[in-house]
Structure formats: C-alpha cells, structure tokens
Amino acid sequence: MLPNFLIGLREGLEAALVVGILVAYLVKTGRRDLLPQLWAGVTLAVVGSLAFGALLTFGPRGLTFEAQEAIGGTLSIVAVGLITWMIFWMGKTARHLKTDLHGKLDEAVAAGRWAVLVMAVLAVGREGLETALFLWAGAQATGQTAEPLVGALLGILVAVALGWAVYKGAVRLDLRVFFAWTGLALIVIAAGVLSYGVHDLQEAGILPGLHHLAFDVSAQVPPSSWYGTLLKGTVNFSPATTWLEAIAWTAYIVPVLTVYIRTVWSGSPRTATASTPAQAPAAATDAPTTGGTP
C-alpha cells in the first residue's frame, strides 16, 4: 500500500504545486475570469493522459520506449521554457501593478491566456501519461486486489491537498512577497523539470552520458522512501544524478536566478523598476524559444 501511495504522491506533487501557484496567481491578480482556462487545461491533460494510457494498455499498439522517453523529455523542456516565461511575466505584471495598474496588465494577461492553458496541460500532462499507465495497470489488477489502485489514488489526493495548501498559503501573502517566493519556487521546480527532461532524453539514447554519474546517494536517499518521494515530487531531485543533468540544472538555475533576483526580487522594487525595465521582457521572449529547441 505505502509504495503505491508514494508513487501517486510523487507523480502528482509537482503538477499540483505548479497548478496551485497558477491558481493563486490568477486569484491574487484579480483574473478569476481566466480560471476556466486553467481548469480546462488541467481537465484536458487528465482526460488526455487517461485516454492515451488506456489506448496503450488495452489497444493493439504500444508506444516504443524511445518514443515515450523522447516525448516525456521534450515536453519537460518545453514546460521549462513556459514556466520560465511565466516567472518573468509575473515579475513584469507585478511592476505594472505598482505603476499603471490596468493598462498593460490586460495585454500581458491576454497573451498569457493561452499560455495559462498550455502550462496547465504541460504541468499535469507531463507526469500524466506515466501515472495513467500505472492507474490502468492498477485497474486491471483490481480483480485480485484494489489495494495498489487505492494506494496510488490516495497519493494523488494527498498531492492535490498539498497543492491546495500551497495555494491557500500563497493567497494570504502580500502581493510582493507572493511574487518573490512563488517565482523562486517555480525556478527551482523548473530547474528540476529540466534535469528530469535531460535524463529522459539520456535514457532514450538521444543524449549521451547516462552512466556518468555526478553523484549517487541512492543509499542515503532511497527513491522509494517518503523523503526521496518528496524531494523527487517537489524539486525533481534524483539521488543518482548524471553529470549532464547536474550541468543542465546548474546552467539553468544560476543565470535565471541571478536575473530574477536582480529584476524582481531585489530589496527595493522602485529601483528595480527604474533601472531594469527592459530585462524581464527580453528574458521572457527568449525563454520559450530556447526551451522549445532541445
């Protein structure tokens, strides 16, 4: 029961956190009208994953392993591009909130309307296929025992509850603190997603270096333990990390965090607004391009 519960928790946690932050963002910026888009994206991803998983489980064809990993890896890297863009978009919006409150905000949100949907699809769909395959296998096994299925569903429910808790905590924050911390959280999550995507592509044989480990702490942090599960689900920590993953993680988090802290998270928002008006948009437009070409 517990191992299956942890699988559900691990697969659901990251998606729940990202969705939780997205919801909190829309609520705090008074864009509740965009919530249907968000939930549509989530629903699309869930239904799509379940349908695809059912097709692969019961249909006449399976997806090759390489294809599965290549899709998973590419989606991850696209997701990183979108999340990065989202982070800076939020930062920009935060500044607009202080200056000309509604003028440019609408424009940004208008562009983001679809991004919100796509991001919800990616955040949920990325882990969705794997989870769906697991759930269908569990459903097939229910003739013998429903325990695995119940365990996994409980795990997903706890993940959703944690996402909801993050949302509740986030909406209570003051707006500037909200942007600062959620942006930070998203950067750490995105870096994890990127390194996970790199790992997928390594497993598919598209990128080299699967067996060149930077470190291996599997003995200290077993991937099937509850803390291993939490680390994996929140920041995509892999106890056996390859050099390429470590390099990708570092190469992402160092510049992004630097730019982010300088533009958004600096102590005085007024100086940040005055001195670096062009930086965030520039970074924002760059991000999806680089993310989209793995």
Binding site: A110, A219, P239, T289
Partner: protein, 406 residues
C-alpha cells in the same frame, strides 16, 4: 473578456511554435511504434516476476519480432524492469513504477541478438540481471527508419566481421607456420595465399596499427635503410626462392631452420597481437561509418597500387587471391552501409552495385580450382581490363563516406 484578447501577441506565437515542436516530435516518434504483427503470428509473451531479491524471466530467449514482457511485482517495494543491450549499458526498453501487486507490460519489437534483463527493486543500483537472447525468427523486423540505427547496426556488424577474419587469420597462420617451420614447404606454399586472404580482407584495419603492419606485410622493395625485413613476404620469398638473375644478380641464400623458426614465431606473435587488439572495446569504439567507408576505398586503392600491378606477391604471383580478398572486404563494408547509401543517394548505390558485379565477373573469369590463375599467366590485355574495372569502382567508392556521413 477584454478586446485585447484578439491581438496577436508574441508569447502566443511562441507558445504555438513550442507546441508545434512537441506535436511534430510526437508524430515523428510515433512512426517507430511497433507494428502489430501482420502475418497473424502474435507476439511472444514472457512473464517476469520481480521480488526483493529475485528477477525470474519465464524463458531465457524469445524469437525476434514483437515481444511482450509481462512484469509482475511480487515484492513489497516499487520495482522497474529493463531490457538492456548486450553491453549492459544502453537501455533498449524499460518500464518504471511497477507498484507492489501490479503487473505491467513492456512491449517491444526485438531484433535478434544478445540482451540483458534487469529488475530494479527499490529503483536503485544495477538491478538483478540475467542474459537474454533474441533468436532470429526470420520475421522481418521493420527497420526503425532512423538512419542512425542503421549506421549503428552497420558498425556492429563490421566489427564482428573484422573479429571473425582475424580469428580465421590466426588459425590459418598457425597451420602455415607449423608447415613452414617443420620444412613441409609444399603445404606451406599451398596455405600461403588462402591464409593471407583473411589479412587482405581487413587490410585497412590492420594497417591502422602502425607498428604491426610493417612487421607483418612489408615488401622487400619497400624496405627502408636499416629496416629489418620480417613477415609474410620474407617467408614468401623463402618458399618461392628466386634465381640469382631474378634476385638482382646475387644468389638467394635460403633461411636456416633457426631463422625460419624465429621469423615464423614472430609472425604468429604479431598475428596474435592483432587478434587481441581488434577484440578490445577500444577498437570497436573507434569504428564508425566514416572509418568503414574510408576503409572500403582504402582496399580498392590497395588493389590499384599493388595487386593489379603484380607487385604484392612478386615471388608467389598469387596477387589475384589478394585482389579478390580486397574486393570482398570493400563489398562487406559497402553492404553494411548499403541501406544508408540507398536512402541518401540511390544513384550512388546503383552505381556501386553495378561496378562490384562487373569486377566480380572479371575475377571469376580467372578462377582456377579453389583459387585463381597466377598473375604471370594474365595477358597484358586482361591486366588492363582489371585495372580499368578497379578504377571504375574506385570512383563511386570514393563518394561512399560522404554519402553516409552527413
């Protein structure tokens, strides 16, 4: 809804572009999904039971084609199942997140070959491994369509070919050396050309070992000042002893039994060394499409500069054996890459097919018994015909590497 929603915005375009990339990639990988067996023979299904300390696969082998591993987790921890390539490193296919009490299927289209299966209870470590063989069922395993895969297959096969030829060279050399050192010159002469074909088929590879090649295959005419002459052609001269006239005016002095043993032992030791080197992992890693393509061209150059002129086997005159062996080696190299050439440059493939056939027809005309007529029996017209044919093949062959290395 604000009216600005209708305005095209750059992030939207970028998002669309990103999505298009995903869709394109998804579609393209989907092509490689295994075909359901069209001939009515269903996939072979094997069961795998994974526990904390065991990984039981129901059979150690399966026929090539669609194979299903139905993996049941009978342990208490989450497990994973991997099918790894023969090297135990490359993942051929895997299924992760198999919770306790669950069965998940790993479906793949398997090619004949050796593999390793591994269960990874707790998702850590190298897993519990065992060997697994996919036998050749004769089912046409559809190519994945990826050129990279074909090139990988070509290099793997070529490395296997080189290993096989050096093994045969070693066995043949052993017999040759035994006959030669025991003074059975007739047997040694009979074995000479047929043993050397294994060397000549892989000559560019052997030549890549700069220290071994001169020790084993140097011709007297190419000796440099102060260089000691050893190897095949020294023994050739001793087996087909020239007259004083043919030997540049000086009487040929036969090797003493001690010298015979010394040079024969060295040839055998060098051949053993060559065989050892091509069986190392480093050697296999150094072989790629470019080296195979260049090697094929190198073999034809050998023919043009040595065999077609009769210089290679100046005492035994068995040049046509070497000629055929060089062509064989080039043909094997080309055949391995032929699918790739066909995809990249169909005209080139057609040209090469024609020229290889032509040169073979000419060579077949000179067959005699198990081998060939002696070089000295060829008329000048026949030599010219062979030389022209070598040049005609050499030209398209020089474009082989460029065609396969994009």
């Amino acid at each position: 809804m604000s009216p600005t929603t209708l305005r095209p915005a750059r992030p939207l375009a970028l998002t669309a572009a990103a999505l298009a990339t995903v869709l394109a990639l998804a579609a393209c990988t989907d092509n490689s999904a295994p075909e359901s067996s069209a001939d009515g023979s269903g996939p072979s299904t094997l069961t795998v039971t994974s526990t904390a300390d065991e990984c039981t696969v129901s059979a150690p082998e399966a026929p090539s084609g669609n194979v299903v591993f139905s993996v049941t987790n009978a342990g208490d921890d989450v497990t994973e199942f991997y099918l790894l390539a023969e090297d135990g490193l490359r993942i051929v296919s895997e299924v992760e997140n198999i919770g306790p009490g669950l069965t998940r299927d790993l479906v793949l289209t398997a090619k004949p070959g050796s593999y390793v299966t591994a269960c990874k209870p707790g998702m850590v470590g190298d897993g519990i491994r065992s060997d697994f063989t996919v036998t050749d069922s004769g089912t046409d395993v559809a190519p994945t369509g990826a050129l990279a895969d074909q090139i990988t297959a070509a290099t793997t096969n070529y490395v296997a070919y080189v290993k096989d030829q050096t093994e045969q060279l070693l066995t043949g050399t052993q017999d040759f050396v035994d006959a030669y050192t025991s003074g059975d010159d007739d047997t040694a002469r009979a074995l000479y050309a047929s043993t050397r074909v294994h060397w000549e088929r892989i000559e560019p590879v052997a030549e890549s070992f700069g220290d071994l090649d001169p020790r084993m295959d140097l011709r007297e005419a190419d000796l440099e000042e102060g260089q000691e002459w050893t190897g095949w052609h020294l023994l050739e001269k001793d087996l087909w002893q020239p007259t004083a006239e043919a030997n540049g005016g000086t009487e040929y002095v036969a090797l003493t039994p001690e010298q015979r043993t010394q040079y024969a032992d060295q040839l055998l030791a060098d051949t053993t060394e060559l065989n050892d080197r091509v069986h190392t992992a480093d050697f296999a890693e150094g072989i790629d499409a470019a080296s195979i393509g260049n090697g094929a061209k190198g073999l034809l150059d050998e023919v043009a500069t040595g065999k077609v002129t009769g210089e290679e086997e100046i005492w035994s005159h068995t040049d046509l054996w070497d000629f055929q062996a060089n062509v064989d080696g080039a043909k094997v190299a080309y055949d391995g890459l032929r699918d790739v050439v066909l995809a990249q440059d169909a005209d080139l493939a057609e040209d090469l097919d024609t020229q290889f056939a032509e040169i073979q027809t000419l060579l077949d005309a000179q067959r005699s018994g198990d081998g060939f007529v002696l070089y000295t029996d060829l008329t000048p017209a026949q030599v010219k015909e062979l030389a022209d044919s070598v040049n005609a093949l050499g030209e398209p062959l020089s474009r082989l590497t460029a065609a396969v290395v994009l």
